[in-house]
Symmetry: C2
């Protein structure tokens, strides 16, 4: 604290403060009275459910038109450049659908079935589930294809598109292991099939170890019920794993001996390696970070002081360290990690920067509590080969140009 | 963990599970295919900013028509009965205005002035503020009048109205002490005046100790910019203190030797004590808790197992313990506190309950890390007298009736 104060006295007073407009001395007249001080505002009956300011209407999920032929099997990206803290507002959480978002599921009619290799097949209404012991956890959710468009070089200009298949919410629901105590899973069951109630009947196989570890069935997201496009009324949560396995609109869990080799784990989310083999069941999202300010959408406001900030996460556990480079990876400085730091959740990092107005190459590199270090792009490509699409967790480089604009470039 | 498993085997299997509909044995046919599995859903371009399911449209802020003559100086209440976890969705955060919500403040035109007993008067644009070192914290916010309608007995039937002038958000902004390093507050300055840009020019005096402790200026709430009715584009945050001091639409901070004795700290938020004196500047919200499920709005679904859940908070620090009674305060059991437990934030508690179908009197009692214990209503009344309106933190009693309905009653 005294260190930061000293920093502020030495740096910010001569930089940030120097950029400020001074008003007249100590007994200064206050500002001219703004119009809002002179007219009655809205009544509380006008806003039973609030929405954002009209001045924030460009803070929205965005899509990439060329990415898919049809927007019912496409993705919208979270505007990471506009967000603070670690919680993603529910209305801005990226959406990836395989048959469109099921927007109209009636929770009174929705059912969850547990069957297959269990002692007792069970059917639950939503009200049944709500009686069980409940937990809340903050977890990130990332699409396996996040960043995939940039595997062959820096093609997407903007953090919303390079990293925006990512969100982080407070989820509330029941641990799956609690329900399975009721059903009695057979010792022979090694896999669980999860199926959604959407048009794609989105279906994935999950190994029993993950099911019994930290899997949960969530009905709430950031305090209120799930948003329709995020799986209302029930979603499987597999913390730290590829988002597509976190099956939305969950209606069925079947237990069996082997994986089901469904469409979404054979034709998708599987990829060819350099040696000709296929990498399948690559579930855990790697240790990763990105600077969200500055970024292409948020250029530099001018020389001098600004705080550089970003997000770090790991599907393996907690973030323990983030280093930032301003010269393309030659020199590194540790960033300050903001509390709270949760396992398998976004962690916010911050680091002060005094910009001299010259070109700079900004990078961030995350480390997690298993010792994983975020790789360079060259390291990742060497492991994955040229056909890679999924699980791109390599270091992102932003080039800050002398005019303050910011570009995505490939370095290292 | 093994304790809970054992509990579940003993209790839930014979209760919650007994209430479930069983489907046919291990190789059961899955459920009938729901319509959502057969029709394409919405495309991602349909939801640039998502909203809640149409089935959740009764989860809204509500008002009490008789409370004020006019809804521009009234309050809307948070639907605590519908919320999970500890984060309140921004659209559901209670609103209390003194001259209506200023809905249209242009952040490009908004200014913050710091003046009075300072070395350098300063004027900041929002973009100036955004360059400073930034922090995020989860804090609750509670109106000083929360529960005030029930001082003379249990009049309000529903947790939304007994306790709903309460929310909890992740706030992001700059510590006020950081800005004051730039301005150089005079050692003679013992008080700060904070003024809003709304029609009420909402104005409160804050002692310098709080200003230099944990006060912050926030521009973000739950990851995105403040909602208009919660103070967009800038709000003073005084963690744990009466919400009205957390001035919305903040435009001016003046430093001086004495409090300003503004309207909102003389005619309001001050009250008569039994001895004829007035209690003024009673800022800190006391140690408090309430059961949010069951409650009048969420009656019992039937006999047998259900989890009882609620919220606890203290303006003094962290919640360390919550006890729950099912017999009106005769016997108490410790509830499970859900992580994370932040200072001056809502803490979620949970406790299992096997309901025998008879009348029960549910209470919760919070303890914080300063040793404060939530008082009974009789204890509070003895201290505050019959004219009390503000800072009601006494124990709430819910009477569960044999038919499962729940009433608010006065016990203890």
């Amino acid at each position: 604290m005294s260190g930061r104060r000293a920093f502020l006295r030495n740096a910010a007073v001569t930089t940030a403060a120097a950029a400020l407009t001074r008003v007249s001395p100590a007994d200064a007249a206050p500002l001219a009275i703004p119009e809002s001080n002179t007219v009655l505002g809205a009544g509380v009956n006008d806003t039973p459910y609030g929405s954002v300011s009209t001045f924030e209407h460009d803070v929205v999920r965005r899509t990439v038109p060329f990415l898919t032929a049809e927007d019912k099997s496409s993705v919208s990206f979270t505007p990471l450049q506009d967000l603070d803290g670690i919680i993603t507002p529910s209305g801005l959480c990226f959406v990836r659908d395989h048959g469109g978002s099921a927007m109209s599921i009636d929770p009174a009619k929705h059912r969850l079935v547990i069957h297959g290799l269990v002692e007792r097949s069970l059917e639950f209404t939503m009200n049944d589930l709500l009686r069980f012991p409940t937990e809340s956890h903050v977890y990130f959710m990332e699409c396996g294809a996040n960043g995939g468009m940039d595997y062959k070089g820096a093609q997407m200009q903007g953090v919303q598109f390079t990293h925006g298949m990512l969100h982080c919410c407070e989820w509330t629901g029941v641990k799956l292991s609690v329900l399975l105590n009721e059903a009695g899973v057979s010792p022979q069951a090694k896999w669980m099939l999860a199926e959604g109630a959407d048009a794609a009947a989105m279906t994935r196989s999950v190994p029993i170890e993950k099911v019994l570890d930290d899997a949960m069935l969530a009905w709430s997201q950031n305090g209120e019920r799930l948003r329709p496009e995020n799986g209302y009324p029930l979603r499987l949560i597999l913390p730290g794993w590829q988002a597509n396995l976190n099956v939305k609109w969950l209606r069925r869990l079947k237990f069996g001996r082997d994986p089901w080799e469904t469409r979404e784990e054979t034709s998708k989310y599987t990829e060819s390696l350099p040696n000709g083999k296929a990498r399948q069941f690559d579930w855990v999202m790697g240790t990763k970070s990105v600077i969200t300010g500055p970024c292409p959408e948020k250029p530099m406001a001018g020389r001098g002081f600004r705080e550089v900030t970003g997000l770090a996460w790991s599907g393996y556990g907690k973030i323990t360290r983030v280093d930032v480079s301003f010269d393309g990876g030659v020199n590194w400085k540790p960033a300050r990690l903001q509390n709270p730091i949760f396992t398998k959740a976004l962690t916010r990092f911050r680091i002060p920067w005094e910009w001299n107005g010259k070109q700079a190459l900004l990078q961030s590199r995350a480390v997690d509590d298993r010792g994983h270090v975020q790789p360079t792009h060259a390291q990742l490509l060497a492991a994955r080969g040229g056909n890679a699409i999924y699980n791109k967790n390599s270091i992102q480089t932003w080039r800050v140009n002398p005019n303050g604009t910011v570009d995505s470039v490939q370095v290292g």
